[in-house]
Amino acid sequence: MVNEIIIAGFGGQGVLSMGKILAYSGLMEGKEVSWFPSYGPEQRGGTANVTVILSDNTISSPIVSEYDIAIILNQPSLDKFESQVKPGGILLYDPEGIPRAPKRTDISVYKIEAMATASELKNQKAFNMFVLGGLLKVCPIVTLEHVMMGLKKSLPERHHSMLPMNEQAILKGMEIVEEMNKSAS
């Protein structure tokens, strides 16, 4: 089993750290993992994306042409990566700042209003955890238990008091994710 995942958005949205948590979660499950970031010289505000691969076998390339799962958090990323989702794959997006919705009908499309929920709950920092929760709901590639273990590994110890808040946010994300299109395959 291989999951080739792209997470793309603006720098500062927690794109790279969400990828890191997924990678650590994969590590906790004993999978092979790779995490490859791509971002401009400016980390906040510029576009940022990360390719995360979780696999039961050795990973040949950390860079791939097509993805099983795309998590899209801004319009430029949707424009770039929508066409690169494998037929039958998954696209999860936050409609905030994405006026042109995904068009593909041969993939499963899910919407998560993570930014709006973060604003409503006055908890901007939980944004990427809502998204991660949404992903785990629609495609449980790793267990919540391993995600929490991965989170603990990837967070510096001084932030470990935030772990319960993160778990709550993941559970909230699982609640608010909506199916927009179901791929036939």
Binding site: V33, P37, S38, P41, S60, S61, P62
Partner: protein, 360 residues
């Protein structure tokens, strides 16, 4: 090898490996995409544990000359930089080679020329392998393709550098430096004592005991006959390295019609590309040179009599392809595919190039 598995960036793996194998000193100046090396070393503060010195020099020129000083004392010393910073070091690199001094250099390549880009590239192949500095010298060049090899090649690089008393380079790129993978780090080894260094490196300028003449490390020989002897000695050493130290990996190379030759991250991408190509019925394998110098000429020549064509995949405009063509000597077509300026080729692009350029 320690049994514990870590998830870390290639750059971080280099720093941890250096501390663990008992390196004496790191001198460097930060530059993207390899700043995590000095950042990790500073965070780990090995001067409080192993006694390893970590110094941010005022420039790359200063770093390489600090390396020259440390290497002259027989110490295990290293520096790291990226492309444009390596250019600044080339005078010192030539001096290290001419002075027969062991050290480890790390270049995590970015796109050039000039300041270029901070994105990954492999365009310093010529600079490293063909001699970026002046004079007839060769550089032992190791090309890692995984985070594990980033960690392993620190030890291997020093081993070869000391075995032959010559500089060695780890030629990585921004992909391998920045990506995270699982890695096992080397076991901790204590730094060598001064007594051990005196025994292992009798040439080291560590202070003259009463019973021998002073050791002199110099690259200046105004008598041409003496200088020619120095050059011939260097060449004899390089012949020995070429005879003993070639390393490469063959991936799915049984029963092939076509061969891709690629190093570093381009080899990883090519590995995925051959999975895709094989699904379409194209019989293709990857030969990955691990040492770029000494270059695996012989094995490539052997493949030339078995395949219809060879494609090199490089993140540059075609550099290693020249060495592949020299190895093959016209026996089969050798073509190059590359992306430039920090663009990373995708596996699909490699498959398309394979079909177009090899006609398969």
């Amino acid at each position: 090898m320690s049994e514990e598995i870590y998830l870390m960036k290639g750059n971080e793996a280099i720093a941890h490996a250096a501390i663990r194998i008992g390196v004496d000193g790191y001198f460097g100046y930060p530059i993207t995409p390899q700043s995590e090396i000095i950042e990790t070393l500073m965070a780990e503060a090995p001067w409080t544990t192993t006694g390893m010195v970590v110094m941010q020099a005022e420039s790359e020129t200063a770093s390489i000359n600090m390396v020259y000083g440390g290497a002259g004392c027989g110490k295990m010393v290293m520096t790291s930089s990226s492309s444009t910073g390596m250019s600044l070091m080339q005078e010192g690199v030539s001096f290290l080679a001419g002075g027969n001094l062991p050290c480890l250099l790390i270049n995590v390549m970015r796109g050039g020329p000039g300041l270029g880009t901070i994105q990954p590239s492999q365009s310093d192949y010529f600079q490293t392998v063909k001699g970026g500095g002046h004079g007839d010298y060769k550089m032992i060049t190791l090309a890692p393709a995984s985070v594990q090899e980033m960690a392993d090649f620190v030890d291997l690089g020093f081993e070869l550098a000391f075995k032959y008393s010559t500089p060695a380079t780890i030629l990585a790129d921004g992909v391998i430096g920045q990506m995270m993978e699982k890695v096992k780090l080397p076991e901790f080894r204590r730094r060598r004592t001064e007594k051990e260094i005196r025994e292992q490196c009798p040439w080291a300028t560590l202070g003259k005991p009463a019973d021998r003449k002073p050791n002199v490390i110099t690259t200046l020989q105004l008598d041409s006959a003496v200088m020619e002897k120095c050059n011939l000695d260097l060449q004899a050493k390089y012949k020995e390295i070429e005879a003993n130290e070639i390393r490469y990996q063959e991936i799915d190379c049984e029963d092939i019609d076509y061969l891709i030759v690629a190093f570093g991250s381009a080899a990883r991408i090519s590995q995925k590309a051959i999975e895709l190509a094989r699904a379409e019925g194209i019989k293709v394998g990857v030969l990955r040179p691990i040492t770029l110098w000494p270059f695996p000429t012989k094995i490539i020549k052997e493949y030339a009599s078995k395949v219809k064509g060879i494609l090199t995949v490089e993140m540059n405009a075609g550099q290693m392809v020249e060495d592949v063509r020299l190895s093959v000597n016209g026996q089969v077509p050798v073509e190059h595919f590359g992306r430039l300026g920090g663009i990373i080729p995708t596996p699909n692009e490699v498959v398309v190039a394979l079909k177009e350029k090899m006609g398969c």
